[in-house]
């Protein structure tokens, strides 16, 4: 494989290290130090994609993050696919596999190309906008067509095997960009002892210095870069991040950086290493030294491969030893771009002409071009490029002084490359991320950062200070300012002497006129990636869009991954002219994070797979796993759901667990219940304020159930609280509500009633809680304790300290099943010991472990509610038929009391919780089913409430259910109907929710 455009020497590539890569199925060779883009250009690959809308062939136009066309799908295997990679930012490595994102079936022979030729008419600007206004069915037709044609890259279909992670960083100064300004700033800050992070998107530090022929102190600039990098690497508190794109600048100097660790060197990360790392940086000060992007000029057919940004051509020559053509036409409105013609000429290739829009260009580079005998055509512009898959020639015409009309005959010239420059646009994206509006600077014909509330400084080309001399000086002074703010002392930094360059005055030129009006001229592209043309912007303005933000949305200019890096200023200039305004009057659209696309892998980091979300385990978890439990997620807890045996179905397991518990004894791991230790002389008063019922007289040794409401009077949690001592209580909460309840208690204590002497401490994790329930639970407990647990000594709702299986325990005689129950609490490190001991003695009682589902069934048989299942934030205790749990007589107006007395809360016909007894005892109502009183009523039927809990009860050999019915508590015995999606209508009788043992005789034994 020949690299036909590669120079014999020069550049920062290592010609001794050839690397083979595959592009669109074909093998090529490049060198270490290449980017994918430079290697493709070296190999003479002209077409790297098809355009989004018109499917026109496109080539590489730039050399950095601003590249709009060379958007690649990279990855050697399905699992390692990465979409939307800029070829200009992807380091070449051996074995790299890349393909064009757009182009179907292939970029060279694109069936869509035909459509593209007519597609211009079919898809005008505002296409999406207009399409959306038509019937939705039309959009769906278009969408599949567009998606297929556009091919916006694709995600891998297999799991990415690589590690992406995140790291939190803090520093005194972060410097974004390691060009001359950034390096000078870093050196200044580092020498003063500051904690510095310097990040740059390129694989090497140096920025523009790496791709220019400039001398510093009379030596190649890269030597100074190497010296600075070497010195920086000696400081412990300097973190240097090459291959790292600062993608977002967020509030309070928080920046996000995507670091390419190994994906710049290999398709897959070596074992254990991190492919990409996302740095989350909090910086005391930020120095933006992000440089500038050169603006191409807008002219006819300016998207034909071979049309490039001038400075990019220089970069390929100087940095990569690649001359991307033979015959160059350079079009410029400024002196700076002359360097490209000089570089091209010095590489031994032919400069056809420099076409300068100005009448009388003067300055250092102009003189140099004249010395080399390069033809300069002044007062002229390239109005059109010729060719389809590669530039074959150009049309050049004289322009008027304003540069907006052709004023003379067209000259055609043969050429294969057109480099253009309309000046430089400071890279202000990051400074805009925090909402700062940029301001127009007429001297440099570009926007520069505006005022900001962030602790942000800027240096170099971002300020419009385009010379190396200025950049170095501003780097030092920005760092010095930061040091002053930080109270640190600047040490001496001696800057190298840059060459003195005489720059002439540039001309404000954006859009090259054609002999035809813009709407009839060959397409003049402003935004390559989104296929936005000058005529499209003019059309938008003609159609009445006056705000640049609207023009952007109408045309799609600066959309997507491009974020207007190359095209925005040209687009605004064209709009401004149409609107008879200046550019600052027209304003600019705002740039948003991210600067370039970030992989989902980097965003997700390690929060995936087993680490996606914490799984919380109780002390008996290993036992449940061994026993084959199926688990249910309750918040972050993994709770046993049921314990299937053999080939049991879920329902069979539940039936067995339910029957065994009511017949003999079952055991539940209830450790996940929230537990809060409450101490202080005002603990009792506090409980009275946060619960709806009375606590003033609960004696030591007793437990009581309580409902907790919000100020709106709606139930949000419930649980049993026990009086451990006069000023000492243990509150339990629902498993999912533990953290919320603790916060609830704290916010009231801290903000409303700080005078109350009370402290709350979470002890959820400290106690393992196991509930033995069933007629034989006492007998089982007696096997493990010497304590007298008889009814006489330990009544229902008593708690007692005792020793269980040798472990000190607090045992609560409370019941959520309606059976005789003991809730055994032991220090969690001994939970497993006691649990196993219970099973050692449980065999004769057929001790059966049961999970959350059986717990739900057993409590539903008893009509006990579950906060969060039978409540939804819109029901108060009276709706639940739980007036017994509300004491309106308490002296303090408890939380929820006033709320539940609002007009809406006391009206007739509120939805109330009732039991639902299906007429067909075998029919189990689906939870969530909506009830109606007349199933024959016309649709939409008036709905009266939904089913909240519904189960098959093996103990009762029928279904049991609870649900809301409007005015249900006064409708006992009446019928309600549940029409289901499958056409069935289940009929149920409204009844008490207590299906089993209404007198409570089973638990009170």
């Amino acid at each position: 494989m020949t690299q036909k455009n590669r120079l014999q020497d020069g550049g920062r590539i290592d010609r001794s290290k050839a690397l083979t890569f595959t592009y669109n199925g074909k093998k090529y060779t490049g060198f270490e130090g290449d980017t994918l883009a430079s290697a493709l250009l070296a190999n003479g690959v002209d077409i790297i994609g098809r355009s989004f809308k018109y499917s026109r062939p496109r080539g590489i136009v730039a050399a950095g993050a601003e590249e709009p066309n060379a958007i690649m799908q990279v990855g050697a295997t399905e699992a390692t696919q990465i979409p939307n990679v800029r070829a200009t930012q992807q380091s070449l490595y051996g074995g790299l596999v890349a393909g064009s994102t757009n182009g179907w079936p292939s970029v060279d022979n694109d069936m869509m190309g035909l459509v593209g030729k007519v597609g211009g008419k079919m898809m005008p600007p505002g296409f999406y906008y207009k399409t959306f206004m038509y019937p939705k069915s039309m959009w769906e037709t278009y969408e599949s067509f567009i998606r297929k044609a556009a091919g916006l890259g694709r995600a891998p279909k297999e799991n990415d095997p690589d590690i992406y992670d995140k790291m939190n960083q803090h520093c005194d100064v972060i410097i974004v960009g390691a060009g001359p300004a950034g390096l000078a700033a870093a050196l200044t800050a580092a020498r003063a002892g500051a904690r510095v992070i310097i990040a740059d998107e390129q694989n090497e530090f140096g920025g523009s210095l790496l791709s220019s022929t400039e001398l510093l102190d009379g030596k190649p600039a890269a030597e100074w870069v190497a010296d600075v990098v070497k010195e920086l690497s000696t400081y412990d508190d300097v973190l240097m991040l090459p291959n790292s794109q600062v993608n977002g600048y967020h509030d309070h100097n928080f920046l996000t950086i995507q670091q390419h660790c190994t994906d710049q060197f290999a398709d897959r990360a070596p074992n254990g290493q991190v492919a990409q790392r996302y740095h989350r940086v909090r910086a005391k000060w930020v120095v933006l030294a992000t440089g500038a992007h050169e603006r191409p000029l807008v002219y006819g057919n300016n998207d034909v491969p071979g049309c490039m940004v001038a400075n990019a051509v220089s970069t390929y020559i100087n940095r990569y030893g690649v001359v991307p053509g033979k015959n160059l036409v350079l079009m410029t409105s400024n002196n700076n771009a002359y360097r490209t013609a000089l570089d091209w000429h010095d590489a031994g290739r032919n400069v056809v002409a420099i076409v300068d829009s100005r009448k009388n260009p003067q300055g250092t580079f102009v003189d140099a071009a004249r010395e080399r005998g390069i033809s300069i055509m002044v007062g002229s512009g390239v109005i059109e490029a010729h060719g389809s898959k590669r530039v074959t020639g150009v049309s050049i015409a004289p322009l008027n002084d304003a540069g907006d009309a052709v004023v003379g005959p067209i000259i055609k010239m043969a050429a294969d490359t057109v480099a253009s420059s309309g000046g430089w646009s400071p890279v202000i994206h990051l400074s805009c991320h925090t909402g700062s509006r940029p301001v127009w600077n007429d001297d440099i014909l570009g926007f520069v950062p505006g005022t900001t509330y962030q602790k942000q400084l800027t240096a170099g080309a971002i300020n419009g200070s385009f010379t190396t001399e200025q950049a170095l000086a501003e780097g030092v002074s920005a760092a010095a300012d930061a040091l002053t703010h930080l109270g640190m002392t600047k040490k001496d930094v001696v800057l190298p002497k840059a060459e003195t360059i005489e720059e002439g005055k540039a001309m404000a030129l954006f859009h090259i006129p054609h002999t035809k009006p813009t709407s009839k001229a060959p397409k003049q592209f402003v935004d390559y990636q989104n296929d936005v043309t000058a005529s499209g912007i003019e059309l938008a303005c003609r159609e009445g869009f006056e705000s640049i933000e609207h023009v952007k949305r109408y045309t799609a200019m600066g959309f997507g991954t491009d974020q207007g890096k190359l095209g925005n200023i040209n687009g605004m200039a064209i709009a401004a002219k149409m609107l008879n305004q200046t550019i600052p009057q027209t304003g600019t659209t705002i740039f948003r994070p991210n600067y370039t696309p970030v992989t989902f892998g980097a965003i997700a980091g390690r929060d995936c797979g087993a680490l996606f979300d914490p799984e919380r385990y109780t002390a008996m978890h290993a036992w449940h796993v061994e026993r084959g439990a199926k688990f249910e997620d309750v918040g972050q807890w993994k709770r046993p759901w049921y314990y299937p045996q053999g080939n049991e179905t879920m329902q069979q397991a539940l039936d067995r667990e339910c029957l065994a518990t009511r017949k003999s004894v079952g055991i539940l791991d209830a450790s996940t219940l929230g537990k809060i230790d409450i101490q202080g002389k005002d603990a009792r008063e506090f409980l009275g304020r946060v619960y709806t019922n009375a606590w003033a007289k609960l004696p030591v040794g007793k437990c009581r159930y309580g409902l907790m409401c919000g100020e709106d009077g709606m139930v949000f949690d419930d649980g049993v609280t026990s009086c451990l001592a006069e000023n000492h209580f243990l509150m339990t909460t629902t498993s999912g509500g533990a953290a919320r309840v603790l916060s609830w208690l704290e916010i009231y204590h801290q903000t409303e009633w700080p005078e109350l002497e009370v402290f709350f401490t979470s002890v959820t994790d400290h106690w393992s809680t196991m509930t033995i329930s069933g007629p034989n639970s006492r007998k089982l407990l007696e096997k493990l304790t010497d304590y007298d647990v008889s009814k006489e000594n330990m009544a229902f709702m008593d708690w007692k300290p005792m020793t269980v299986a040798g472990v000190p325990a607090r045992v609560f005689r409370i019941s959520f099943t309606g059976e005789l129950s003991f809730e055994i609490n032991v220090q969690a490190n001994y939970g497993m010991h006691v649990w196993k001991a219970l099973f050692e003695h449980g065999e004769e009682f057929n001790l059966t472990p049961y999970g959350t589902e059986t717990m739900h069934i057993l409590r539903a048989e008893k009509g006990f509610i579950i906060a969060g299942q039978d409540t939804d934030g819109s029901v108060h205790p009276f709706d639940l038929g739980m007036s017994w749990a509300v004491s309106m007589q308490k002296p303090f107006s408890f939380i929820g009391k006033r709320g539940m007395q609002r007009e809406d809360c006391v009206r007739e016909n509120r939805k109330q919780l009732v039991g639902l007894k299906t007429i067909d005892p075998k029919a189990v109502l689906p939870e969530g089913a909506q009830g109606v009183l007349d199933p024959k009523a016309p649709i939409p039927m008036p709905m009266v409430g939904h089913v909240t809990s519904s189960y098959w009860s093996a103990n009762l050999n029928r279904s049991v259910a609870m649900g809301f019915v409007k005015g249900g508590l006064d409708k006992m015995g009446e019928r309600v109907f549940y029409p289901l999606a499958d056409g069935r209508v289940i009929e149920a009788e409204i009844c008490s929710p207590v299906f089993l043992d209404p007198k409570g005789e089973r638990q009170n034994v």
Partner: protein, 99 residues
């Protein structure tokens, strides 16, 4: 991502350690039962939504678990001051702005 000074821990911490808990200085009526439905509704549901200076209650949820007040500019996201529960802000919107 805010950087918030906790007045109890006496240092800046990352926003992910904190939770916002709504508008500050909304005192629970001392005698809720005496409130009309309108007064109660205003206490419950009506909150300021200013463009500019705003006083917010935050809690250092992952840290000291203490609630405190933050004066924040809703336009620039600048935090002007933090102060403890029971204290009054020193940075306040002027009357014209708050209208």
């Amino acid at each position: 991502m805010f950087h918030i000074y906790c007045p109890h821990c006496c240092e800046y911490r990352e926003e992910e350690e904190f939770h916002a808990a709504g508008q500050s200085h909304i005192a629970r009526p001392l005698d809720p039962d005496a409130c009309t439905d309108k007064e109660w509704g205003e206490f419950m549901y009506f909150r300021a939504n200013p463009r500019g200076i705003h006083h917010e209650l935050w809690v250092h949820a992952a840290g000291c678990r203490k609630y405190f007040n933050v004066t924040r500019d809703t336009q620039t996201y600048e935090i002007n001051e933090v102060y403890k529960v029971g204290e009054q802000p020193t940075v306040v919107a002027n009357a014209i702005q708050s209208k």
